[in-house]
């Protein structure tokens, strides 16, 4: 009888303990490009020591999970409590307004206000989260290959055409399989498009038809793929809007030039080590600008959370100046926090190429085109990027002509706008 009572008491305690844990549970959906997942885990472990009533669970997922599965979860009214997201504006109706749950809303507005519109519905003044990093697309050159070929790396004024001609010379001289590659992403090709004068946004705020700026860059890009200057495997290797990074080819010394973004710095530094020297080179110029695409990943609270108070505490902690500073210095990300930027950062890397690369991207940010600066907060950016990547890939694969592709891009975008606007 005593045994039975003990068993029942243990069971009851267990149930109680489980319920208590669930009440204070905060799940974060997180993807990583480099070491940021480990850094976050470390930070949250410390947070949980100070806040034993809150159990933070980090679900480390792939970027494609965030792109493909999170939207469906959100539409269904579920999902994590907090998520690290890049498509912030299009999903902004699902983010929680943290204003009543954070300790000092003015702190948030003062330090993260510049990007607040990127992650809230138009016209709203909600605080929904903060950017864990500010990104800018740009290129990386394998400096060792340039040095061995005796060719100088082009300067910041060099055009896309000049870059492609030069990297081809280096690749031929050094017998590298591909001179260049660009991530398979509509966002990645948008900086170059804008550099050729593209404007995605119509006068009514809706997507504008594909213009000459897009055509100028896309036609070049297709040609470079056909000639083998750009590695066609990256864009042709999938259908639809699937994301493919070309980082591994660059890391393995198979590329002279890689167009991606500053979030790759940590990845390149860790994996390349001292195998070869590399440098960040900013974005090549088109006829209108020398622009990359700004963006970044934001950490946002999801409005379907059952524990908004606990979510507020976690977000307050992660947005605090000390944590943002430590996170940025360890992950080699450029922070969005105004105060931290003003203070200055000491990035933690023994690799001298890292600081040079970060400085390179900071310098390149000065030439970012206003059209590019507008897109991260534009609702239809994802739609535009999707049409660009899927149809351009079909041209490279020889399934469509350029003219057919432009028509299809316009039709795809129009269909999506019509569908959403029902």
């Amino acid at each position: 009888m005593t045994k039975a009572k003990t068993l029942l008491a243990t069971l009851a305690f267990g149930l109680l303990a489980t319920t208590t844990a669930l009440a204070g549970e905060v799940r974060i959906m997180w993807y990583s490009d480099g070491v940021e997942g480990e850094v976050l885990q470390d930070l949250m472990d410390r947070f949980m020591v100070d806040n034993p009533d809150i159990d933070v669970i980090i679900d480390n997922v792939s970027y494609s999970t965030v792109r493909e599965q999170l939207p469906v979860q959100l539409e269904a009214g579920s999902g994590p409590d907090i998520a690290r997201v890049t498509d912030l504006k299009a999903q902004s109706e699902h983010w929680l307004d943290l204003t009543p749950y954070v300790e000092d809303a003015d702190y948030w507005r003062d330090n993260f206000g510049d990007q607040a519109d990127w992650m809230r519905p138009d016209g709203s003044d909600a605080i929904t989260g903060f950017m864990t990093q500010i990104t800018l697309t740009g290129g990386y050159a394998n400096k060792t290959l340039f040095d061995q070929a005796g060719i100088e790396i082009p300067g910041p004024e060099a055009t896309w055409d000049e870059w492609m001609e030069i990297v081809q010379q280096v690749a031929t001289s050094q017998q590298v399989p591909f001179p260049a590659a660009m991530d398979r992403s509509g966002h990645r090709i948008s900086g170059p498009n804008i550099s050729f004068g593209a404007n995605y946004v119509g006068a009514d705020g809706l997507p504008a038809p594909i213009d000459d700026g897009v055509k100028a860059m896309v036609s070049r890009f297709v040609e470079w793929n056909a000639q083998g200057i750009m590695n066609p495997e990256v864009w042709v290797s999938a259908s639809g809007t699937t994301y493919r990074a070309a980082a591994d080819d660059f890391i393995n010394g198979q590329l002279v030039y890689y167009y991606s973004g500053n979030w790759q710095i940590s990845n390149l530094s860790t994996k390349i080590g001292d195998t070869f020297d590399w440098v960040a080179t900013g974005s090549p110029c088109g006829t209108a600008a020398c622009s990359g695409m700004p963006g970044g990943a934001g950490l946002v609270a999801v409005k379907y959370t059952k524990n908004p108070e606990d979510v507020g505490k976690v977000m307050d902690y992660l947005a605090s100046a000390e944590v943002v500073k430590e996170f940025s210095e360890r992950t080699l990300f450029i922070p969005a926090h105004r105060g931290v930027i003003a203070q200055g950062l000491q990035f933690q890397s023994d690799d001298p190429q890292v600081n040079a690369a970060l400085s390179g991207f900071v310098a390149a940010s000065a030439s970012t085109d206003p059209n590019a600066l507008f897109l991260p907060g534009w609702k239809w950016a994802g739609t535009y990027y999707g049409a660009l990547v899927s149809r351009t890939s079909q041209v490279i694969a020889g399934e469509l002509t350029l003219e057919e592709a432009y028509e299809r891009m316009d039709a795809d975008i129009a269909a999506k706008v019509a569908e959403i606007s029902r």
Binding site: E68, E75, D87, V236, G240, A387, G398
Partner: protein
Amino acid sequence: MGNNAMDGAKKMIGVAVAAPVKFVMGLPDAPLRLWQRLTGINGMAVFFLAPNMIVFGVFVLLPLFINVAYSMTGGAALFLDNRVFVGAEQYERLLSCENFADPNSCVEDGFWIAARNTLFFVIIQVSAMIAVSLITALILNRAIRGRSFWRSVFFFPVLLSPVVVGLIWKWILQRQGLLNYLLFQFGIEQQVWLIDRFWAFAAAILVSMWAHMGFYTLILLAGLQAIPRDLYEAAEMDGTGPNRTFWRITLPLLGPNLLVVIVLALIRAVQIFDEVYVLTGGGPGTATMYLTQYIYEVGFASALRNPGLASAASILMGGVLVILTLLQLLAGRRGEKKAERE
């Protein structure tokens, strides 16, 4: 005397063990008798079928009806009650084509590209799969050395997850993969297997065959082993050659198994997705994008997603599958009747 006591004890234990079992088994007896009295013998059939039908209804029929409902809606919302009723608009969009043979002339070109790819894939993969499975089954049915080992070898890939299958073959076939390494070692020109349209298509067929043929081989092997040996002995005594034996005895008697294999292989081929998606991502371009991937991308993965359109596409695909299966069953029955008449 001692034995009698032992038997008595055994009996007692038997009764003691059987009593609770008998009691539990007897519990439904009374309500079932009542049910039978009220509904008759047909009511009993309903009672015993009900659990299965409920599971079927909840997990098959209900999703099917929901899918049909989704296919008649539009808008960005996910929940059905928040979506706009658009009637047959999504079907019209899918079926709007100037020339059905040219996907580029269709409004929803992706659907028709995927349909065309699926058609070619099904025709080639199912034919090749059945031929290879049949040949393998015939070989494994013989008294060869290490027969059990070979049976396991052919069946092993069936146990693997499709994602694992896709990844293994991707590592073999990618530019810097095992196959190109081996070709390089032998001084043979390397190929970019998964970027070339022909080779990517061939790889999709090869990999799906490798992954599934063990299952079909097993079904055919079971059929072969069920054919009475005396028929072969009689044929041998009559001096019938091996070719004639195969066409006149083996193949007709394997008919029912072959029909099952054809139906299953066909359904599986039309639904091909996971291993090919991992292997090629639908590329190069859209060369290996099949209907299920199209539905997945339009419904979930793409930045341009449209759940209504994806549902309509899946209903159309389901309709084609039903027609194909019915045609095959019809052909199977005709074959049986013909065999009976002969």
